[in-house]
C-alpha cells in the first residue's frame, strides 16, 4: 500500500452501535482517487433506491483524498456525500481546514455512516481506533461551544472536530457540516443528514505518519509554489483580499446577483467588497493544513451591539454576495454577523442568503405579509431583518421554520406566482454568478448532479479572448485550444464547460483545493497536478488518468440521480433567467434563449457519452469507466 494512504475505511452502524474497519486494496484507491468517489461507491452499493434522505437508510460518507495530509498546498480537503434532503438528488459538498489531514493522521481515509443512533453521539477516531461517545451534553450547542467543550473533555487542544450546529439538529434542509467552526461542507444539506442520525460530531486525533512515495519531489513542488505566489497574479489577489477580491469584477460584467437576481449590478458593490473587508475589519489571514495561499479571512467588528468574532472566520465572496447584493444589503457588518450566525448554527451561507432574498422578493410582491413574518419588514436592503431571519432559520422559529425548508419548497407552499421568483436548480439555490454573463457556468448550474454549483467547472472568463497566456497554456493540456469571444455561448464553450467540469470533478475526488490546483488560473496547473500525484503515490498518473477519475465521479453522481428517476427534464434553469434582466450594466435587458439552452444540453450529453433523450449515463459509458456494476 502506498504510504500517503492510511489504508483504512471506518464503517459505522449507528442503529446497532457497531463499528468495523475495512482495508481496501490499492487498486480501489487508484480507480476512484480516494475522496468522494469512494464514498459514492459505498452509497450506490449499499443504499436502497428511494431511500428518504432523513431515514436511517440514508448513508453519509466522509472521505479525504489520496494526497491529503502531505506537505504541499491545497491537499487538505474532505468530501461528504449522502442523499440530499434539499434536492432529493445526490448530495455532495467539499471543505478544507485541518480536519481532512487530521483524519488521515488519526489512521483513516474515510468513514461510511449508516443507521440512526438512539441518542445523540459523537464519533472519536484516535490513532487507528474508533468509538462512539455520548453527545447529549453537546446537543443544542453552537459550533464554537462544542469545539471548546470537546477540547477540554478530551484534554487535547490539537483535536479536530467536524460537527453540526443547532440547524443540523433541527433538520434545516441546507444545514452544513462545520470544521474549525468556520469551514463548511455547506452545500446540499449534509448537516441535516448528520442531524437526522443524531450524530453531533466526528472528532479526530492522532499522529500516524503519511508519507509521499517521492518526498524530494513533493518538497520541490511545494517550494516552487511558494516562489510562484507573487507571480500567479490571481492567487496573489486571493491572498490579499480573499475570495471577496472578485466583487468589483463580478459587478463590472453584470454577474453580481442583486435583489434576488432581478439585476446583475449592485450600486453599493464597493461597500461589500473584499478590499473593503481588508481595509476595515480584517485581523488575520487564515489557512488550511499545509497551504501557503492563506485565502481564508478572520475579521473583527460589531453589528448592532453584537460582536463579530475572528474565531468564526470571515465572509467568502459567495456570502458577501448572498447576504449583500442578493438581498440588496450594503451593510458589511450585518453580512459578517449573518456569516457568523450561519457558522455558529451550521448553515450553508449560499442557500441561507439566497432563500432570504427569495422571501424578500415574495414580500415585496405581496406573497408574504407582515403578519406572516411576525411584523418583520422583509424589504430588500433591510439588514436588521436579514440578521433576525438567519437566527430564526437556525432555530426553526416563526417564519424561519418555513425558510428552513429552502426557497423551492417555500415557493410550493406560497403557490401562485412565487415560483417565478425562484433562483434554484434541482431545488438548490444558485450561487452568486449570473449565467447571463457566465454562459457556460449557467449550463453547469443546470446539469450538475447535485444542483447549482459554482465550483464544478471553470468560469467563462478563463476561456475568453484577452485572458492571460497562463490560462490558455493550461487549458490546452485538457484539449481546449480556442478561446472564445467574451460573453459568447457556442458548442466550443460547451466543450469548455464539460471538460473543465471533468477536471474539477477529479480535483474533488483527489481531495484538492480548487484555489490551488486547477485547469487555468491557480497556483498549480494540470501538469503539476499529475507530477504531484505521481510523487505522492508512485503510480504513473498522467492527465488522461486524472480526467478518467473525474469522469468516473461525474458518472457515479449522475447514476445515483438516474436511479432516483432524475432525467434531462430536471436539468433546468429558473424561468426568470429566460426573461430580460433589469438594472444596469452589460447584462441589463439580457435574457437566455430557451432553444439555445436545450441545444447546449444536447451537445453536453453527447460529449459526456450519455443518452441525449434521458440525459443519463449509458451502459456503454458506465462499462468504459469500470462501473458496469451500475449498469445492471
Amino acid at each position: 500500500m502506498v504510504k500517503c494512504i492510511a489504508g483504512s475505511v471506518l464503517h459505522v452502524d449507528l442503529s446497532e452501535s457497531r463499528l468495523w474497519v475495512e482495508h481496501p486494496d490499492e487498486a480501489f484507491y487508484r480507480k476512484y482517487g480516494g475522496g468522494n468517489s469512494m464514498g459514492l461507491h459505498y452509497i450506490l452499493n449499499d443504499m436502497a433506491p428511494g431511500t428518504d434522505p432523513f431515514s436511517p437508510g440514508n448513508i453519509l460518507t466522509v472521505f479525504s483524498g489520496v494526497p491529503t495530509g502531505l506537505a504541499i498546498s491545497g491537499q487538505s480537503r474532505v468530501g461528504v456525500n449522502a442523499r440530499s434532503p434539499l434536492t432529493n438528488a445526490v448530495g455532495d459538498s467539499q471543505a478544507g481546514g485541518f480536519f481532512p489531514a487530521s483524519l488521515k493522521f488519526a489512521g483513516f481515509d474515510g468513514i461510511v455512516i449508516r443507521g440512526k443512533s438512539k441518542k445523540p453521539v459523537y464519533l472519536l477516531l484516535s490513532n487507528g481506533k474508533a468509538e462512539l461517545k455520548d453527545a447529549s451534553h453537546l446537543w443544542g450547542k453552537l459550533t464554537a461551544e462544542t469545539d471548546e467543550i470537546l477540547r477540554k473533555e478530551l484534554e487535547d487542544p490539537r483535536i479536530e472536530v467536524m460537527q453540526i450546529g443547532p440547524a443540523g439538529e433541527k433538520l434545516v434542509r441546507f444545514a452544513a457540516i462545520m470544521n474549525m467552526h468556520n469551514r463548511a461542507n455547506g452545500r446540499t444539506g449534509m448537516g441535516a443528514v448528520m442531524g437526522s442520525k443524531l450524530l453531533k460530531a466526528i472528532v479526530v486525533q492522532g499522529n500516524q505518519r503519511i508519507e509521499a512515495f517521492d518526498k524530494p519531489e513533493i518538497v520541490r513542488l511545494n517550494r516552487d509554489g511558494i516562489k510562484r505566489l507573487d507571480e500567479v497574479l490571481d492567487v496573489k489577489g486571493l491572498n490579499i483580499n480573499g475570495t471577496g477580491d472578485v466583487v468589483p469584477f463580478q459587478n463590472s460584467i453584470g454577474s453580481l446577483p442583486t435583489r434576488n437576481y432581478r439585476e446583475g449590478q449592485f450600486e453599493n458593490f464597493e461597500a461589500i467588497s473584499g478590499e473593503t473587508v481588508t481595509k476595515n475589519i480584517l485581523v488575520d489571514r487564515d489557512t488550511c493544513f499545509g497551504c501557503v495561499v492563506r485565502c481564508k479571512r478572520k475579521v473583527e467588528t460589531e453589528y448592532e451591539g453584537n460582536k463579530v468574532l475572528p474565531t468564526y472566520g470571515g465572509a467568502e465572496y459567495e456570502t458577501l454576495a448572498t447576504f449583500g447584493s442578493y438581498c440588496g444589503n450594503k451593510n458589511l457588518a450585518s453580512i459578517q454577523y449573518a456569516n457568523q450566525l450561519c457558522n455558529a448554527f451550521g448553515m450553508d451561507t449560499i442557500s441561507c442568503g439566497a432563500t432570504i432574498a427569495f422571501a424578500m422578493d415574495c414580500f415585496q410582491n405581496g406573497l408574504i405579509t407582515r403578519e406572516e413574518t411576525g411584523g418583520i419588514d422583509l424589504s430588500f436592503g433591510n439588514d436588521r431583518a436579514i440578521v433576525e431571519i438567519v437566527e430564526m432559520i437556525g432555530k426553526r422559529e416563526g417564519i424561519g421554520n418555513l425558510l428552513a425548508e429552502g426557497s423551492a419548497r417555500l415557493a410550493e407552499k406560497l403557490g401562485g406566482e412565487a415560483v417565478s421568483f425562484l433562483a434554484t436548480c434541482k431545488k438548490q439555490e444558485i450561487p452568486a454568478h449570473a449565467p447571463h454573463a457566465k454562459r457556460s457556468l449557467g449550463l453547469i448550474f443546470a446539469v450538475n448532479p447535485f444542483g447549482a454549483d459554482h465550483q464544478s467547472s471553470e468560469h467563462d472568463p478563463m476561456y475568453e479572448e484577452g485572458g492571460a497566456p497562463l490560462y490558455f497554456e493550461r487549458l490546452a493540456l485538457i484539449g481546449l485550444n480556442s478561446p472564445q469571444v467574451p460573453g459568447s455561448m457556442d458548442d466550443e464553450k460547451v466543450r469548455f464547460a464539460y471538460l473543465t467540469e471533468v477536471f474539477y470533478s477529479a480535483l474533488d475526488t483527489y481531495g484538492l483545493c480548487q484555489f490551488v490546483w486547477g485547469p487555468a488560473w491557480t497556483l498549480y496547473g494540470p501538469a503539476e497536478m499529475a507530477a504531484m500525484l505521481r510523487a505522492a503515490t508512485g503510480w504513473d498518473v498522467d492527465i488522461k488518468e486524472m480526467m478518467e477519475v473525474g469522469e468516473r465521479r461525474l458518472n457515479l453522481l449522475r447514476a445515483f440521480n438516474a436511479r432516483e428517476g432524475f432525467t434531462r427534464m430536471d436539468d433546468r434553469l429558473p424561468e426568470k433567467f429566460f426573461k430580460p434582466m433589469e438594472g444596469t450594466g452589460p447584462t441589463s435587458g439580457m435574457a437566455l434563449d430557451r432553444d439555445h439552452f436545450e441545444h447546449e444540453k444536447d451537445v453536453y450529453y453527447q460529449l459526456a457519452g450519455w443518452d441525449v433523450v434521458t440525459g443519463n449515463p449509458t451502459r456503454a459509458k458506465l462499462t468504459e469507466l469500470g462501473l458496469e456494476w451500475l449498469a445492471a
Binding site: 497574479l233 490571481d234 496573489k236 489577489g237 486571493l238 490579499i240 483580499n241 475570495t243 477580491d245 472578485v246 468589483p248 469584477f249 463580478q250 459587478n251 463590472s252 460584467i253 453584470g254 449590478q265 478590499e275 467568502e316 465572496y317 459567495e318 450561487p431 452568486a432 454568478h433 459554482h454 465550483q455 471553470e458 468560469h459 472568463p461 478563463m462 479572448e465 484577452g466 485572458g467 492571460a468 497566456p469 467574451p486 480548487q514 484555489f515 488560473w521 444596469t584 450594466g585 452589460p586
Partner: protein, 82 residues
C-alpha cells in the same frame, strides 16, 4: 475637447493597487491627452497586459477605444469566486 486634455478617474483593484504610490490607495485622477485609450493607460501605469478594465461600471473589452472626459476607469483582476 479634440486635441485638448481630459480628466479620467482611475481605480486599481486587488494586487494592481501596488502600481500606484501607497498613499493613493489605488485611486487617482489623471489629466490626459484627448484620444487616450485603455491600452495607453495600461502602458503608462505599467500594468500587466491581461488586466480587465471597466469604464463607468461596465466591462470594456475594446482597449483601443478612446476614453472621454469624466470617465471612471477601473482595472480589475478577472476571477472565479468561492
Amino acid at each position: 475637447m479634440a486635441g485638448g486634455l481630459i480628466r479620467v478617474k482611475v481605480t486599481l483593484h486587488s494586487y494592481l493597487k501596488d502600481f500606484l504610490p501607497e498613499e493613493l490607495d489605488g485611486e487617482t485622477e489623471l489629466e490626459l491627452q484627448d484620444g487616450v485609450t485603455i491600452d495607453n493607460l495600461i502602458h503608462t501605469l505599467g500594468l500587466p497586459e491581461t488586466v480587465a478594465a471597466a469604464v463607468n461600471e461596465s466591462i470594456e473589452r475594446d482597449h483601443f477605444k478612446a476614453l472621454k472626459d469624466g470617465d471612471h476607469v477601473r482595472f480589475l483582476r478577472p476571477g472565479a469566486g468561492g
